[in-house]
């Protein structure tokens, strides 16, 4: 047998050339910049070297020891984790109620896609007007006598949280709906025949089957919320409670032109996100993994 024949048996033949553009593209535009960025992190700028010593790890020393930078890790997590949890938890009962067919389902689904296309920048502009001190919401609440003075909805932690719910909830809801539709209804029907009430069916059948899907949804919503950037600046308190990591990274990049510190913060961002995702995946590994739907 010829070499090419033996290779073909293992799956290596000329069609693999079709992968080449894709792989080249990923190497040049993703892997190379990433490795280059990692290299940059050990070449601290003069500014950092002056303050934190001349070693190659000065950027990392600065990252962990400068409270102004390091606190942004907690600030980001304090924003992203509660918001992601909220989006997942609130989506579950709604997805349950809306599963199955009913009139207007497609319209509702389409309306839910809207905020995804609006994007965070436009949502921020709308929130500034609608939720502002003189906005419609505050005016309505004042007229109804529910509040004495306008509530501060924007330019603080809650502004960013609301903006992340507006963009994240539809995402979580659509994902959970599709996981839910993947669960074989006959399992629940069987449980019902055997006399299980709705509470039992929920806790013993549906939720365990849905749990891996919920973990995946949490991860994806978390990733979205974690890299929040425009809304943290536009409807948040960019120097205080919403001074998130991506803002710090951009500050180093765009305002201080310190590419090596910017890359360090960016890398640490990826790392922190990776740790959270791994924790959730580890948790997910302990859940049921079988052949019926609801998995991620």
């Amino acid at each position: 047998m010829g070499l090419s024949h033996r290779l073909a048996e293992r799956g290596i033949d000329r069609t693999l050339w079709l992968l080449l553009p894709g792989i080249l593209f990923a190497l040049v535009l993703f892997i190379y910049p990433f490795v280059y960025g990692m290299g940059l992190t050990i070449q601290p700028s003069a500014r950092i070297a002056d303050q934190w010593g001349n070693g190659i790890f000065a950027n990392y020393i600065a990252f962990f020891n400068d409270p102004f930078i390091f606190d942004s890790v907690w600030i980001t997590l304090k924003l992203a984790i509660p918001v992601a949890l909220f989006n997942v938890i609130i989506s579950v009962p709604i997805a349950f109620k809306l599963r199955g067919k009913f009139r207007g389902k497609r319209t509702l689904m389409t309306l839910l896609v809207l905020p995804i296309t609006l994007g965070t920048v436009l949502t921020a502009q709308g929130m500034l007007i609608f939720l502002g001190r003189q906005g419609w919401l505050n005016k309505t609440l004042l007229e109804m006598g529910l509040i004495d003075q306008p509530i501060q909805f924007v330019m603080n932690y809650w502004g960013v949280a609301i903006s992340l719910v507006i963009s994240g909830f539809p995402f979580a809801f659509l994902l959970i709906s599709s996981y839910l539709s993947g669960i074989d209804p006959s399992l629940e029907a069987a449980a019902r025949t055997m006399g299980a009430g709705w509470g039992k069916r929920l806790t013993r059948i549906t939720l365990p089957l849905l749990a891996p899907g919920l973990a995946t949804t949490f991860i994806l919503t978390f990733v979205l919320a974690f890299s929040v950037f425009p809304s943290a600046r536009l409807v948040g308190d960019a120097m205080g409670s919403t001074r998130v990591m991506s803002l710090m990274a951009f500050r180093a990049f765009g305002e201080q032109n310190d590419y090596s510190m910017a890359s360090t913060i960016a890398l640490m961002m990826g790392l922190v996100e990776f740790v959270v995702v791994l924790l959730v995946l580890a948790l997910r590994g302990t859940l049921y993994r079988g052949s019926t739907g609801g998995k991620g």
């Binding site: 799956g11 290596i12 069609t15 693999l16 079709l18 553009p21 894709g22 792989i23 593209f25 990923a26 535009l29 993703f30 892997i31 910049p33 280059y36 960025g37 940059l40 009962p93 109620k97 067919k101 009139r103 389902k105 497609r106 689904m109 389409t110 839910l112 896609v113 809207l114 995804i116 296309t117 609006l118 994007g119 920048v121 436009l122 921020a124 502009q125 709308g126 929130m127 500034l128 007007i129 609608f130 909830f169 659509l174 599709s178 539709s181 974690f226 890299s227 950037f229 425009p230 600046r233 536009l234 990591m245 991506s246 990274a249 951009f250 590419y259 910017a262 890359s263 960016a266 961002m269």
Partner: protein, 303 residues
């Protein structure tokens, strides 16, 4: 069950009656208190959403709008003013041009790769899969900053080329992810028959696969289009005057030094952006399922 037996017959009767009136497979939506809670949540969400959108639209047409329910008068001057002031003709051109080129290039690179990944198993396939998955999983700022640094080092900073290149990074993996299931659906024996009849790979792609893949190609094209027009982070890092897309131009107007531009100017740009997105979305929804906009998932129950 015991509870069912103690329930008055009349109630059971009414329930059956209601169940009979419904179309088969359709569920009742007006029922328990829990349903009210769910609908309450949905309603609050839509009040927020609609409020946000309508506020921007009203603001963009308002003459002056302070502490009143509606603006003092109406005008369209903000549109012409923002169009001139921010060079929106050029911004729109860049936005749509970048989006169109990104769509075409990502399809050309992505479809062949998706084909191989859908059809072949070869050593190192997992690694290749991971390579295409990473740009979607890693937060955009985390790889965007090193990527933008590389662009500036190569002298591409603030150019349209750089904007297209960074937009391709998430677009190509996205095309691969959306196209793979479409290719898997095509029966391989069709390809084998074409091969036996003497078609080469090029002919196989253009004569056999492309026509069969039209729905998939349209779906991933509109999805990439929506995502590229809306992509903020990566574009923002490399663009500058002359290469800003619409979202970035809006952001810059909102954060311009000296407290930002007049709010109505930003709102009018926002309405323009929403309109662009709506048009794309209306076209998109003819070809794709709403759930596809967020992830590659199959939606068995829909329609």
């Amino acid at each position: 069950m015991a509870i069912d037996q103690t329930r008055p017959l009349v109630v059971a009767d009414a329930r059956i009656q209601r169940a009979l009136n419904r179309a088969p497979g359709e569920k009742s939506l007006v029922a328990s208190p829990s349903a009210w809670l769910v609908w309450g949540g949905v309603v609050i969400f839509f009040i927020m959403l609609v409020g946000v959108i309508i506020s921007v639209i009203v603001d963009s047409f308002g003459r002056q709008w302070f502490n009143t329910w509606l603006p003092e008068g109406w005008t369209t001057k903000w549109y012409s003013e923002s169009w001139d002031r921010f060079g929106l003709a050029q911004v729109m051109g860049v936005t749509l041009g970048v989006a169109a080129i990104t769509v075409v290039v990502s399809l050309v690179i992505g479809i062949p790769a998706a084909y191989v990944l859908a059809r072949k198993s070869f050593p190192g396939k997992q690694l290749v899969n991971l390579l295409f998955l990473l740009p979607i999983l890693v937060p955009p700022i985390a790889y965007g900053i090193p990527l933008a640094t590389v662009m500036y080092n190569f002298g591409l900073g603030r150019t349209v080329t750089a904007v297209i290149l960074v937009n391709l990074v998430p677009a190509v993996p996205f095309v691969i992810m959306t196209m793979t299931p479409f290719i898997e659906q095509i029966n391989p024996s069709i390809e084998n028959a074409a091969r036996m009849s003497g078609a080469n790979t090029m002919q196989l792609f253009t004569k056999i696969l492309a026509p069969l893949l039209v729905p998939g190609i349209l779906a991933s094209a509109v999805l990439v289009l929506v995502r590229t027009v809306g992509l903020f982070e990566l574009t923002f890092l490399v663009s500058g005057p002359g290469s800003d897309t619409l979202v970035v131009a809006i952001y810059r107007a909102m954060t311009a030094s000296g407290g930002g531009e007049a709010r109505q100017l930003v709102s009018s740009m926002g309405v323009l952006y929403t309109l662009t997105m709506m048009i794309i979305l209306v076209i998109a929804l003819r070809f794709v399922n709403p759930t596809q906009l967020v992830a590659r998932v199959k939606d068995a129950n829909d329609d």
